[in-house]
């Protein structure tokens, strides 16, 4: 199946059909869903877990959970890809807590820690399910935050860091990090909803 000519909205419908198929017990739907979304989900897991073997384990667990819980998916749970991303992320976070992973973050302390964010921002990806407009709005709003706020959110979201880990990576007091996170979230919400 190729999705490259379709808009994110069409792709979202495809994913909904596939989830519906999974809920009916159709393995072919499950396989298609895996083919379409696993590269994106695997990238997220590798980023957060830093270890491929863990990411592979988490991906398996997440898809097994998708297969079992497909019937419970409704639009109330968000866009299908968001739902899949969340299942993967929570699975990865569980794994991190269980394994007490030591944090090592290759680019985290960099002043241009967000460089990768802009690097790919304009690249069009064939199997991308998220609209460019949404990604652009988020980037614009992230740009409005101060550096501490933005980096705190980034380290939590992409690297699974705790408040304490963020504090050590950014060399900032814990209280400051907690307030960066909260102000960052408030600012993001305000900006995204004003748009």
């Amino acid at each position: 199946m190729t999705l490259s000519a379709q808009t994110p909205l069409d792709k979202t419908r495809v994913l909904m059909d596939l989830l519906h198929g999974c809920a009916q017990g159709q393995q072919s739907s499950f396989q298609k869903l895996y083919q379409l979304t696993s590269p994106q989900l695997f990238a997220i897991l590798v980023r957060i877990l830093k270890r491929r073997d863990w990411a592979e384990e988490a991906l398996q667990d997440a898809f097994l959970s998708v297969w079992r819980n497909a019937a419970s998916y409704t639009a109330q749970k968000g866009a299908p890809l968001t739902w899949l991303v969340s299942i993967c992320r929570y699975r990865a976070l569980d794994l991190l807590r269980r394994e007490h992973r030591e944090v090592y973050l290759e680019s985290s302390g960099d002043e241009d820690g967000d460089a990768w964010l802009t690097e790919f921002a304009d690249q069009s990806q064939a199997d991308d399910f998220i609209s460019h407009a949404e990604a652009r709005a988020l980037k614009r709003c992230l740009d409005e935050l101060n550096e501490g706020q933005r980096n705190s959110l980034r380290l939590a979201y992409f690297d699974g860091c705790s408040h304490e880990e963020i504090a050590s990576v950014l060399r900032a007091p814990l209280g400051t990090v907690k307030s960066w996170v909260r102000r960052g979230l408030q600012g993001l919400k305000h900006c995204l909803e004003a748009a």
């Binding site: 990238a43 998220i130 939590a156």
Partner: protein, 234 residues
């Protein structure tokens, strides 16, 4: 914490999605999600807002082995009794827990012994399930004559939203054996299959995994193993 304040709820939902709520705060939040549809919506909103960030990650195809292993697990899902053991080796966790739990058996055993209303003779086996930080969570006692197992919660051990804690025996050989669901608080008792009691002598220990609500659908652990403890013969 004041969950009535809408602004704070909003922030907590955001922190939850970021993965910043940990331990008891996270469990409390997950418990609230069960009953609070508005809070659920807050979580879904944040998940949606932040998901766009992932657009910047370059997709990365997983190796084919992941799909093959997934197929095996799916098949096992359809035929519960033939499920291959997906039991993960956790020796490091295990060895740390052994010494700690042994020490705690003595301390907690004395403490709990007093709180039982009618002590039904001495248990044949005891085990203490502890958190990674060493906090005792359950005292598990097996009475071989009355074929009973007592699970005394030593803390408020609420499982994650929509999940149950399930107890497993790790026999000397072979796959884990289901021993039932754990209570989140107070004292719970259940009767035990004599075969399980007989196998406890040579068992490697007990373990608790997180399972779908109501317990593992396959008869084998399907979720992460969160606690393990050695069995102490009294």
């Amino acid at each position: 914490m004041n969950y009535g304040n809408p602004k704070l709820r909003e922030l907590l939902a955001g922190e939850y999605v970021l993965g910043l709520l940990r331990g008891a705060a996270r469990r409390r939040f997950q418990r609230l999600l069960i009953e609070d549809a508005r809070l659920c919506k807050g979580v879904v909103d944040w998940e949606g807002k932040l998901a766009a960030w992932n657009r910047n990650l370059k997709p990365l195809a997983p190796p084919d082995s992941v799909w093959r292993k997934l197929q095996v697990r799916l098949k096992a899902d359809a035929q519960p009794r033939e499920k291959p053991s997906g039991w993960p080796a956790r020796r490091a966790l295990w060895s740390g827990a052994v010494t700690l739990a042994t020490a705690l058996v003595l301390v907690v055993g004395v403490f709990i012994g007093r709180s039982l209303v009618t002590p039904p003779g001495a248990p044949a086996y005891v085990a203490v399930m502890s958190s990674a930080q060493g906090r005792p969570l359950w005292l598990i006692s097996v009475y071989s004559k009355s074929r009973r197992i007592d699970m005394q919660a030593l803390a408020n051990n609420t499982p994650p939203a929509g999940k149950s804690y399930e107890l497993w025996m790790l026999p000397g050989h072979g796959k884990p054996v289901a021993m039932g669901l754990m209570n989140s608080e107070g004292l719970a008792s259940a009767s035990l299959n004599p075969r399980i009691i007989a196998a406890l002598v040579s068992a490697k220990g007990l373990a608790i995994s997180i399972e779908p609500y109501g317990g593992s659908p396959t008869g084998q652990p399907t979720g992460p193993v969160v606690y393990v403890a050695p069995i102490v013969s009294t």
